[in-house]
C-alpha cells in the first residue's frame, strides 16, 4: 500500500508541473440534450458548449469528467472534481450540502410521458430518476414511485409497462416522445432553475462562474445556446 502511495505521489508530482487554473467539470453524460456522450465518445450537448464558453470567459482551463448521477454530489464535496454541471435544478435541499451559481436556465416545467394520454397518475406507477426533484415530487404526492439510476431506464420502464408514466424535465422528454409514447398536457413547475453546483468552501470559483454566466445573459449568447439545444424557455 505504501509503495502504491509513493508511486502515485511521484506520478502526480511529475504530471502536475504545468501551473494553470484547471477546473474539473463533473457531468452525467446521459441526459440529452443537456449532456450526453456523442458518437466520438466525447461529452457533448448544451452544457458542454455552455461550460466551455464559461471557462473561456472566466479564464479557466476546464477538464470534463463523467460521473454517475447517484454519487455526483459526494464526489464533488470530497474534491474529485470542482463543479457539477449536469442539468441540476437548484433546490433548498441540495443547497444545504453544496452551493449553486446563479441559474443558467430558467425553471422549466416537468412533463409526463405515457403510452396513452388518459393515464391515471394518482392510481398508477410513476417512474423518475433517483434523487431528482421529480422523484421527490412524486413521493410528496403520495403516488407510487419507481426510481431508476439513469434517465434512459425511466423511459424504458414506461415502454415495457413497468411504470404507467415517467416524470422528467420536458426538454429531455421531448427527445423521447413518438413511437407510441405521448406527452400529457399536465405539467409541474418544480425547482428553481438549473445552476452549476460548487463546493460551499469554493466561493471564489463560484464568483467567477457567476460573473461569466451574467455576462452571457447580458450579451444574449446564453439565449442563443438555449435556443440551439432547445433545453428550456428563454431568459
Amino acid at each position: 500500500m505504501k509503495k502504491l502511495f509513493l508511486g502515485t505521489a511521484a506520478l502526480a508530482l511529475t504530471a502536475g508541473m504545468a501551473l494553470a487554473d484547471t477546473v474539473r467539470m463533473g457531468t452525467e453524460g446521459a441526459y440529452a440534450p443537456w449532456n450526453f456522450v456523442n458518437d466520438a465518445g466525447e461529452i457533448d450537448g448544451f452544457e458542454r458548449e455552455l461550460g466551455d464558453e464559461l471557462c473561456k470567459r472566466a479564464n479557466l482551463t476546464c477538464e470534463w469528467v463523467k460521473n454517475d448521477w447517484d454519487s455526483i454530489i459526494p464526489n464533488l464535496v470530497s474534491g474529485n472534481y470542482d463543479t457539477i454541471i449536469a442539468g441540476m435544478s437548484i433546490t433548498a435541499e441540495r443547497d444545504e450540502v453544496i452551493d449553486f451559481t446563479q441559474p443558467y436556465t430558467p425553471p422549466d416545467p416537468s412533463a409526463y410521458v405515457a403510452l396513452s394520454a388518459d393515464v391515471d397518475l394518482a392510481g398508477g406507477v410513476i417512474a423518475a430518476q433517483a434523487t431528482t426533484i421529480q422523484a421527490a415530487f412524486v413521493a410528496e404526492q403520495g403516488w407510487t414511485l419507481v426510481e431508476f439510476a439513469t434517465p434512459e431506464e425511466t423511459v424504458a420502464a414506461v415502454r415495457n409497462g413497468e411504470a404507467d408514466a415517467v416524470l422528467a424535465d420536458q426538454s429531455f422528454l421531448d427527445t423521447v416522445v413518438g413511437d407510441g409514447l405521448v406527452m400529457l398536457d399536465r405539467k409541474e413547475a418544480l425547482g428553481g432553475g438549473v445552476g452549476m453546483g460548487i463546493r460551499e468552501s469554493d466561493g471564489e470559483l463560484r464568483g467567477k462562474f457567476d460573473a461569466a454566466i451574467q455576462s452571457m445573459k447580458d450579451d444574449g449568447s446564453l439565449n442563443t445556446l438555449i435556443a440551439k439545444w432547445e433545453v428550456s424557455s428563454q431568459w
Binding site: F5, A12, A15, G16, A32, P33, G45, K66, N67
Partner: protein, 295 residues
C-alpha cells in the same frame, strides 16, 4: 473510421453496421474490455497475496498478529461489497490526501473538514487537479485494484486458512519428527500441500471476482456494463449519426456470452490446475491419479 462512413444515413446493412461498430464511442466499449481484463490480471494475484498474509496472520502464534488476521477477515467479509465500494474508496482517497496534506502543507491553518467539504491544500490533492484526465483515471483504477484486493483478499484468507487446516496433521508431525523448525514445516510441508484443498474455494472466488467488475463504475472507471447500457440506450437522430431504438438487450446479450465464455475458460483452466496439484497428494483426487498411473 472507414472512408465511406462520412454519411451514415445513406448506408445500409453491413456497411452501416461496420461504421456503427467503429465509432469513437464503441472504441471506448472495446477498451473497457481490456481495462476489465487488466484489472482481473492485477487484482487476482494481489488479492491472493492479501489472502495469504491474512491466513498466515490468523494462524500465527503471536496473539496480536492473530487478532489482526481474524479481524481483517471477519470485518471485511461482513460488509456488503457495495457499501465497501461507496464508503471505503472515498475514505481511502481522503486518507491519502490527508497524509500528503500533513507532509506538504504543515502551516495550513484552515480545517480539513468544512461542513460537508473535504479540503486539502492544492499541492496535496491526489492526483493534482491540474494533471491530465488519464492520470485521474489511472489513479481511480489503482484505487479499484486495491479495494478489490482488500475485499477479495479477506475471502481468500478464509479459504487459505481452511486449506492450511485441512493439510493432514500427520504430515506436519512427520516434518517435526525429522527436526524441521516451524518455519521450515510451514514453507516446505504446509504451503505446497494446502493449495489442493484451497483451490475449489479460490476458484469460486475468481468466478465471483469476474462478475464483480461492474462495481468499477462506482469508482469512476468506465466498465463494460456501463458502456453496454450507454451504447444500447435509445439514440435520437438529433444527437447522433446512428439513431436506433432500445438495443440494450443485444448489448447485454453480448456481455452474457462474454461472461459465460470467460467463466467457462476459467473452469477448464482451474480443472487442469486441480489435476496438476493433486499429483502425489494424499487426497482422493491424488489417489485416483496414482491408481490411474499404475493401471
Amino acid at each position: 473510421m472507414f472512408s465511406y462512413c462520412t454519411d451514415p444515413s445513406a448506408l445500409e446493412g453491413l456497411s452501416w453496421l461496420s461504421c456503427y461498430l467503429t465509432t469513437g464511442k464503441h472504441m471506448g466499449f472495446y477498451i473497457s474490455f481490456v481495462v476489465v481484463l487488466v484489472l482481473l490480471a492485477i487484482t487476482a494475484p494481489v488479492a491472493l497475496l492479501f489472502g495469504f498474509a491474512g491466513a498466515t496472520a490468523a494462524r500465527s502464534r503471536v496473539a496480536p498478529l492473530r487478532w489482526l488476521g481474524k479481524a481483517y477477515t471477519s470485518i471485511v467479509r461482513g460488509v456488503p461489497d457495495i457499501a465497501f465500494f461507496l464508503f471505503f474508496v472515498i475514505a481511502l482517497d481522503q486518507g491519502f490526501e490527508w497524509l500528503r496534506h500533513q507532509v506538504k502543507c504543515p502551516d495550513w491553518d484552515a480545517p480539513v473538514r468544512q461542513g460537508n467539504d473535504f479540503i486539502v491544500c492544492d499541492i496535496a490533492k491526489l492526483p493534482l487537479s491540474t494533471s491530465p484526465q488519464w492520470v485521474h483515471e489511472t489513479y481511480g483504477f489503482f484505487l479499484a485494484v486495491l479495494t478489490f484486493a482488500i475485499v477479495f483478499g479477506a475471502f481468500a484468507a478464509n479459504v487459505l486458512y481452511g486449506g492450511m487446516r485441512a493439510v493432514p496433521r500427520a504430515q506436519l508431525e512427520t516434518a517435526e519428527a525429522y527436526g524441521m523448525t516451524h518455519r521450515q514445516t510451514f514453507w516446505r510441508i504446509l504451503v505446497p500441500q494446502m493449495w489442493v484443498y484451497a483451490l475449489p474455494g479460490l476458484g469460486n472466488l475468481w468466478m465471483v471476482l469476474i462478475k464483480a467488475t461492474p462495481l468499477l463504475f462506482l469508482l469512476g472507471v468506465e466498465d463494460i456494463v456501463y458502456w453496454a447500457r450507454e451504447l444500447g440506450g435509445t439514440k435520437n437522430a438529433r444527437f447522433t449519426d446512428y439513431p436506433h431504438g432500445d438495443w440494450r438487450i443485444w448489448y447485454f446479450l453480448f456481455l452474457l456470452v462474454f461472461y459465460l465464455a470467460f467463466t467457462r475458460v476459467s473452469e477448464i483452466v482451474l480443472e487442469r490446475l486441480m489435476v496438476r496439484l493433486s499429483h502425489g497428494q494424499a487426497t482422493t483426487g491424488g489417489e485416483k491419479l496414482r491408481k490411474g498411473a499404475n493401471a
